[in-house]
Amino acid sequence: MPPRLNIVVPVKRVIDFAIKPRISASQNAIETNGVKFSLNPFCEIAVEEAVRLRESSKDLVESITLVSAGSAKAQDTLRAGLALGADKATLIEIPAIDDSKSLELEPLAVAKLLKAFVKKSNANLVIMGKQAIDDDSNQTGQMLAGLLNWSQATNASKVTVDEASGVVTVSREVDGGTETLSAPLPLVITTDLRLNTPRYTKLQDIMKAKKKKTEKVSPEDLGVDISSRLEILSLSEPPKRPGGGKVDSVDALIGKLRETGAI
């Protein structure tokens, strides 16, 4: 009996990629008031990949479950993922420390939460984004694989599943080029930008997504301690770029270049 994939896709709600993050007036956090949030681009690619696996072969995928750890606002992100084609979603609700910001989860805490959730849902494949565009850790997938003691294939640019044997072949983007790995299930895959082109959601799919099942759990339900081990000492914007200047003639240009020591 060929294995059926029970896929979990963890997703994260991040500040939209097109927005420049600003530091809030109190100088110790990123300004989130009135800022547009959306589904992390790499997570979007992960959801799309899970849906494509289902579309590629009739009985291959049994279910696609989304999971996200964050404040109640992450429900919007989960709904976006459901609209892309996932079956159900679970929110691991993290209570806000105070009104202005919710507890920032560290990759290890997220990995522990995901491990507990994955075990609970009996999944055999995790597809997730390689990193979030807000903290750029690129750690959670790897840590999760370690905690679960599963194989991992990160920075995937192509995924194929052999239905008969349940062996997954993944092409990875590495510095020197492309590396191809294969491993039997269970497996953690993290997505690279070039894995696929996510579809744009249709309004009807968003309406249909409202009927799909969403659950809420707490870190206590999963038995995980999410306290931070790292302390943010300071937060600052990158130094402003010094203004450029204009010159009137080639001689002036050469003069300026000599001044700065370029020639």
């Binding site: 990629f17 097109a18 565009i133 082109t197």
Partner: protein
């Protein structure tokens, strides 16, 4: 037919929220575009206009995707020389 047109309009309006030149600009042009053809009665003509609307939908989705892809590529991948 009327239902299809309304649905197409709603879909495009929904997509307009992320338009780089602003939702207001997008909505004005979208509304004007649909209003202009509101008087059509020939089924063939309407279907042609609907096909055009679908084309615009694909173009906008492509615009959004390329924008996002390029931003990600620029931020996370070294310039391949």
């Amino acid at each position: 037919m009327r239902f299809k047109v309304i649905r197409q309009y709603k879909q495009l309006l929904f997509m307009g929220r992320e338009y780089p030149r602003g939702y207001k600009y997008f909505r004005e042009n979208l509304h004007a575009g649909f209003k202009k053809n509101a008087g059509l009665t020939d089924v063939k003509e309407i279907e042609q206009k609907l096909k055009f609307a679908e084309y615009i939908e694909r173009e906008i989705a492509a615009l959004y995707y390329v924008r996002k892809y390029r931003a990600m590529k620029q931020r996370y991948y070294e310039k391949d020389n």
